[in-house]
């Protein structure tokens, strides 16, 4: 299997390609994470013949900037950093995906979406704004709503009001026919399970003519984490729809 660190369009990433790969998973990490974290979790995808690409998000990993701590205890700094990261990553990923498709190792492979927490929300933005059209998507421990903002946060950031008032789920019609699976723990203290369920409920009318393409998996006793069993289900979903 090919495992390499590369820089594509100035984005450091890890590229992992099993023999005979038949799909490319663009796997986005969460706030405070980095490419190495999702790469460590990618085994179930490789086992099913899916290549994975793990980019460092803006302000993360090799692109970290000291000002942004991504420490949830520093709420204002955390929230602002996450919002800035999301906006920057949404802006840069369409060009990255285009460039990845031109790499000899990945040429011709269908694009598949996986994202954890913040990375899942980034995929919601990309799909709902029709910036990328993956063949299938698996959103882990995330939702189509932004993080709850403190009372005065939007007053200090009027440029973000529109994003908060028009979250991805308000653009439900843009999602089908992309098969979309949400995977979530029922004890998630960061992204409450209800947020994911509200997301699926908001998207459901748009999928009414698309039997089985919108689904949710809930894992009992699981918090804001990515157990192997959850990753295996995400990989199976993407593999099923990659054919």
């Amino acid at each position: 299997m090919l495992r390499e660190r590369r820089v594509v369009r100035e984005i450091p990433l890890l590229l992992m390609v099993p023999e005979g790969a038949r799909g490319l998973v663009l796997f986005l990490h969460g706030a405070g994470g980095g490419k190495e974290r999702t790469a460590r979790l990618a085994g179930p995808f490789h086992a099913l013949g899916l290549a994975t690409v793990h980019p460092d998000a803006p302000l993360h990993g090799e692109r970290a900037v000291a000002k942004w701590k991504f420490d949830p205890k520093q709420r204002a700094n955390y929230l602002e950093g996450v919002v800035l990261t999301i906006a920057a990553q949404v802006a840069e990923l369409p060009a990255l995906a285009h460039e990845l498709a031109r790499l000899p190792e990945l040429a011709g492979l269908p694009l598949l979406a996986a994202g954890a927490s913040m990375g899942g929300y980034v995929w919601h933005e990309l799909i709902s704004r029709r910036l990328l059209r993956p063949q299938a998507a698996a959103v882990l421990i995330s939702s189509g709503f932004p993080l709850d903002a403190p009372h005065d946060f939007l007053k200090r950031h009027p440029d973000l009001v529109a994003a908060y008032e028009n979250p991805p789920v308000t653009r439900a019609h843009a999602y089908p026919p992309t098969p979309l699976l949400h995977l979530h723990g029922d004890r998630d203290p960061v992204v409450p399970l209800e947020r994911m369920q509200q997301t699926v409920a908001a998207l459901e009318p748009a999928y009414r003519e698309r039997d089985g393409r919108l689904a949710q998996a809930v894992f009992a006793g699981v918090g804001h984490e990515l157990p192997a069993t959850m990753l295996a289900q995400a990989a199976a979903w993407l593999s099923h729809w990659s054919g």
Binding site: D211, G212, R213, L214, A220, P227, Q233
Partner: protein, 211 residues
């Protein structure tokens, strides 16, 4: 290649093994030998000749079928396993899913993992007075990895009954996070779809020792 597990896939009421075998592909690709036995009084074993309009008679017949199938599977499963020398895995659709709940909760079978589709441990027919549902025996399940798969708009077995199953079992799984899960497919009905089969196969394969 030699199979790595024996998957016993039980069909639903009024159905037959062909219905579940039509979705055997993902399980076989994942390394399972798939065995789909025929329920008592079904298919070549006689179909009871019941009219779907006679609901009470149908319910009695379904209850009797479940009881008979549980009894014969409790005897047959160890034999099938011994003949093949393979670990046992469970899959079932509708009545077949409920039969697995009976087998597991009564400790009559101990599969390595289970993926049950279209019904939980709460049947859609009246339960005779004094009979305890499998959910009363929740402590018998863990550490069995159990995935329930269900269509959101199932008109035969409401999703709510499976959600109640999960809620009843969850306390017993408190020390086994991630081993009890519910996959709900929006706009899917009382059916066994290719997506459901793919996800069930992945769940079962995940829990094999070689995973």
């Amino acid at each position: 290649m030699k199979p790595k597990g024996l998957l016993v896939f039980l069909h639903g009421y009024g159905s037959d093994p062909d219905y579940v075998l039509a979705q055997a592909g993902p399980f076989e690709a994942a390394g399972f030998e798939v065995l789909a036995p025929e329920a008592p009084d079904h298919g070549s074993r006689g179909d009871g000749g019941l009219s779907p309009d006679d609901w009470e008679a149908l319910a009695r017949h379904a209850t009797a079928t479940v009881a008979a199938w549980v009894e014969e599977l409790a005897a047959a499963l160890p034999r099938w396993q011994a003949e093949r020398g393979l670990p046992l895995y469970a899959a079932g659709f509708s009545m077949g899913a409920y039969v697995w709940h009976e087998l597991i909760s009564r400790r009559l079978a101990r599969p390595a993992a289970a993926a049950l589709i279209g019904m939980g441990a709460i049947p859609n027919v009246p339960v005779p007075e004094g009979v305890e549902l499998p959910t009363f025996r929740a402590s018998a399940y863990p550490p069995l990895p159990l995935l329930q798969i269900h269509g959101r708009v199932d008109p035969v077995v409401p999703l709510a009954s499976v959600e109640r199953t999960l809620a009843a079992l969850a306390p017993a799984y408190s020390e086994y996070p991630g081993r009890l899960a519910l996959l709900a497919l929006e706009n899917a009905g009382h059916e066994l779809t290719p997506e459901m089969a793919a996800m069930a196969a992945a769940w079962l394969a995940r829990w094999r020792p070689d995973a």
